[in-house]
């Protein structure tokens, strides 16, 4: 696998608390990688090391097969979870400044700033202070400052938190566009249901440890339980007669049937076809990421989060 970023046995410790515990990860080039886990799992600690804000206590990080250094900042874009702008600075100046800090020459930074402001419909606001903009507009400005220098690796920490649906959609669309252009995107979230469709790859983190990582579909396949989902029309009494089938759920016109791992769905489908029922839908049920998480750590993300107080360094 061609990876743009590689973490090797990375450890990060704050006082006696181990925030990141021997994590090894490969981020495949040109994909969207979801870094998942509950709040306080160590996502932000990992991201801060990737972005060069902090450094691993042990292990190493390779960017394009080279040890990560400050010079890679030019090729990265980073939008932190908690993000903001200088309130009393013109937004065009602000974006230009942040792009220049990334290593773009001032003139080029200025040119791209105005082009992007036009593109996202903020052209008229270029010379206004950030304080004059609505929250949604400010989020667009932050996004521009993150991507306008065309980074090859984009790191978005909880990009959808605090976004209204319109802007969330906009960011999602832009993420796909960037991927088409070859940008690799790492984004973190604690909301697992958000990422199933967006992420090509995922890594699941809990208590500083990597629980699982890989291709999203592959991971889901690995955890599938051979559970079949049947939507039907007609009397459900037929199911009650099939005593050899392990029926996990039967409600209205929906049934979930668990088959032994040795069997595939073919025999079941034949039986259903021979039944008096009208079969509307028949599918192998893929596990949700939240189910996989429960399988792995024995607890749901929500229950972990409700137990955690924000005393850990995030």
């Amino acid at each position: 696998m061609d990876s743009i970023l590689r973490l090797e046995e990375v450890v990060k410790q704050y006082d006696r608390h181990v925030a990141v515990d021997h994590v090894s990860l490969n981020i495949p080039r040109g994909k969207i990688f979801g870094l998942l886990g509950p709040n306080g799992a160590g996502k932000t600690s990992i991201i801060r090391m990737i972005t060069g804000i902090t450094f691993p206590d042990k292990g190493r990080i390779l960017f394009d097969k080279e040890p990560l250094t400050e010079s890679h900042a030019r090729r990265m874009g980073y939008m932190p979870e908690e993000r903001g702008l200088y309130k009393k600075m013109k937004i065009a100046e602000q974006i230009t400044y942040l792009l220049a800090l990334r290593g773009l020459p001032q003139a080029e930074a200025k040119k791209r700033t105005y082009a992007w402001l036009e593109r996202l419909g903020l052209g008229a606001w270029a010379e206004r202070n950030a304080a004059d903009l609505s929250k949604g507009m400010q989020q667009k400005v932050q996004f521009i400052a993150t991507v306008a220098h065309e980074p090859s690796l984009l790191i978005l920490d909880e990009p959808f938190s605090g976004l209204d649906p319109v802007n969330a959609r906009l960011i999602e669309t832009e993420m796909f566009k960037l991927r088409e252009n070859g940008t690799t995107i790492i984004f973190s979230t604690h909301r697992l249901e958000q990422v199933e469709e967006i992420c090509d790859h995922i890594g699941l983190i809990n208590k500083g440890k990597l629980q699982i990582d890989g291709d999203t579909a592959e991971v889901r396949r690995r955890f599938q339980r051979n559970l079949y989902r049947v939507e039907f029309a007609g009397d459900d009494s037929w199911f009650h007669q099939q005593t050899d089938l392990s029926i996990e759920r039967l409600t209205g016109n929906l049934a979930e049937i668990l088959l032994p791992q040795s069997e595939n769905g073919k025999a079941l489908l034949q039986r259903l076809a021979a039944s008096p029922l009208d079969i509307l839908k028949f599918e192998l049920q893929m596990p949700r990421l939240s189910d996989i998480f429960i399988t792995l750590v024995g607890e749901s993300v929500q229950s972990i989060e409700s137990k955690q107080k924000q005393t850990l360094p995030s």
Partner: protein, 436 residues
Amino acid sequence: MQSKIPIILQREYLNIVRKRSFWLATFLVPFGFVLIFGIQIVAALFVEEENYTVLINSGSNPMVAQKLMDTSSLKFKQSDDSVESLKTRVGRNEDLLLLILPSMEELSSPTPQVQLTGKGNISSPVQKDIREQISSAIETYRMEQAGLSKAQLESLQFKVEMKTSRFEDGQEKSTNTGMATIVGFVMGFLMYMLMAIFGSILMQGVIEEKSNRIVEVIVSSVKPFELLMGKTVALALVGITQMLLWGILSTLVMVVFSFFIVGAGVDPAVIAQSQQPGMTASPMATNEIFAAITTFNWNVLWFFPLFFIGGFFLFGSLFAAAGASVDNIQDAQQFTLPITIPLILPMLFLQNIIQNPNGVFATVASLVPFFSPMTMMVRLSLTDVPWYEVVISLLLLYGSFIGTVWIAGRIYRVGILMYGKKPTFAEIFRWIRYNS
């Protein structure tokens, strides 16, 4: 990799220099100082005279009464009227005073009693004038009683006039201690103000970046230490810019001001005579002030930026560390207190240093890094400080700021990423040892 400090420096510098408050302070401070000097000059120029006729009850003490001499403002007049009727006259007329002299027997007492009555309050210069005349009259009377001749008496009376001077580059130049004291005090105070104000501007900038959460984006592009240095150096440059502008403006305003007051080649006394009646000028005062301005060794001002930079880096870096440790300005108070104490302390011993700028206390205080920016500037204004003391003071100051900047940088890089609970001092000290 090219340093990104210049980019940060540019933003931070322009951010402040573009503010209206910067220009307001830049223009108002020199006007303020010139105004203070100007008011003093004008006040010295136009001393309002009080004219009184002092009535003396003729019977009271002719020995003393005949020795009282009229001055430009006081006229002594003996009157045969009774004390009671004189009092009634004084009570009706503001220009009259009634003086009751001690009796002949009382003249040999250690504390002869005199009574002065007027309609309103009697100003202290008038009181002083009359008291001195009576003292001198009694003194003369006592000497005559002791059998001294008039010639002997005159030979006993003298007044010492002292002129001070200093050696500079082998040349003797006259000095004016009063001027040096004023400049010394202004230097010390201005240094304190600048370090406190610029320190708190730096701290507010750090807190702003932290609380509006832009700092995390910035430190993903530059090292936290680069950001801290960019901000600190930018503010130091703002300070230097402001001093330059103050220098230029003060000179301009002074030139214009002196042009108006002195007039082109016109003697101040001439202007004084053209003033309204009732006002007389004291041309001496004006001349003295202008002489003082020209004789003061203004070269010491060149040390001001040097000590400002040292002091600002020393205190500013600590203010920045305090700002990085908190989420909002209210929480910062607790951490700024230990920084403010060594900053204010020299203000308390400014008086001692002005009184004895070459003493052991002043010398030591002007070498201690936290105190030296203020105390050394005061000493430099007042006295010739040996060059090696200035060098040692600067070396110690610059050496210490490297230390505080290092510590502040360590606290800063951890603090800017910490949100939520306000840290304790113990936690902040632990941050210094953290791996980044």
